[in-house]
């Protein structure tokens, strides 16, 4: 019966800079995989 199912997402419409730098993770094809540091903590 339901036509639309909206997933929970972080709304975009912050900036502490404590998160991991994009290319310091797993070095050739760099943000989608990053996690907010404040959320992590």
């Amino acid at each position: 019966k339901k036509r639309v199912f909206t997933l929970p997402t972080r709304q975009l419409i912050d900036g502490c800079g404590e998160c991991q730098t994009s290319c310091q993770s797993a070095k050739t094809s760099c943000v989608a995989n990053q996690v907010c540091e404040q959320e992590r903590e």
């Binding site: 290319c23 310091q24 094809s29």
Partner: protein, 499 residues
Amino acid sequence: MVHQYKLNGFNIVLDVDSGSIHLVDDLVYEIIMLFEKADRDGIIRALSDRFDSDDIRSALDEVQELVKQQKLFSQADHAARLFEGREYAVGAVSRTTKERGAVEKRRTAKEECSTADGRLDAHVNTSKYHCWNENVIKALCLNVAHTCNLDCSYCFAGQGKYKGEQALMVVETGRKAIDFLIEHSGSRRNLEVDFFGGEPLLNWQMVKDVVAYARSIEEQYGKRFRFTLTTNGVLIDDDVIDFTNKEMHNVVLSLDGRPHVHDRFRVDIGGNGSYARVVPKFLELVRRRDQGTYYVRGTYTHLNVDFLNDILHMLDLGFREISMEPVVCRPEEPYALTDEDMPIIMRQYEELAEEILRREREGDPFQFYHFMIDLEHGPCIYKRIIGCGAGTEYLAVTPSGDLYPCHQLVDDPSFRIGNLEDGVTEHDLQDAFRTCNVFAREACRACWAKLYCAGGCAANAFHMSGSLLGTDAFGCELFKKRIECAIMIKVAKAVASAT
């Protein structure tokens, strides 16, 4: 901007500016396709031959409610968060400039970075992202060894030497790098150091000494270091396993997959494959790793576009945290990915996503790095729009202490941006990197994936297009497919948990 696609039986709609993600039925999917092209009556007429008119009207009401809630066709001036009222040099760094790094054009940010329709609202305040404002550096890639015990022909680092002489970083330089990072990190608490090369295990005692030095002073300065190590595995022993388990936040283990695939490129100086030597060591390291993360990280090329088979082989070996990346090389190399490879690669990613879901259902899940996406706790909007941070918050350090914007540019002396003694000295070059973001790149502004990739890899863009503000079109297509698959996996899991 809206992006909609069908994958694995799901109708998925992404609202770019708000970050909203919707799973919709066939009727709503078609309404959204028509929504900006026709008015309400026009949409009803267009669809009434296939859907009931009352259904169309009620579905239209749902769509319009989402629009009202700013979850569909939303419009936000994210560019204004960075640029409103500021003026920055917009670098046009190309191979043809007399002095690479010279800033050829200086425009106001408003001119350069306004949204595609020329609108730039003034209501959003400016430049909250601290690193942007403060010249804060929070991550270093330490090239501790410009040499390698393998001779992989596809290596972007030119067998570890970066087109230069063999060299090892001395511990004094490593300590200076730690001091430099602390000094330039402002109020940032989390600092990252990646031990890279070449092969960093060829300079292992130095790595341990630098880690010990950083640990000895981090509390004094209110910092927390996260170390990572990237290794080909040849020199892994008990000491390496124990130390990395204790001190390395992440370990990247280079393995390309099936034995014949791995040994095609990953050979020693004598041409002997390394698979049989490194796999047992990787397995032992992973078996004993009880904290932090690891990734078995492969490279796929034109010669193994069936890379899903390599991932399956890694799974058969027992690895569960896997990364598999497209080769970075000149297009004329015989192993370079080609346009003809693209549809095969796309299908491989789709089959990989289906495999992830299948194994999840069967209780044997695994992680594929580029499908990892946290929709609720992912990056904030500032992180998504400043770009990768190369040249600004992230620098590579050579064995001699020279600074480069990125580890992928260390082989080009014209990208030398400074040194540990004097800091960043090439400020025009740094400004050019500072402007590497989604709003400075023509192709990115109109791209639905821009807030997932933040403009992608500046080095790849430069190598493929000759400009830091260009794009790697092939890489972009791969990235978009990976994001579509990653989101589909999230949708499938959400549906499974709701039913």
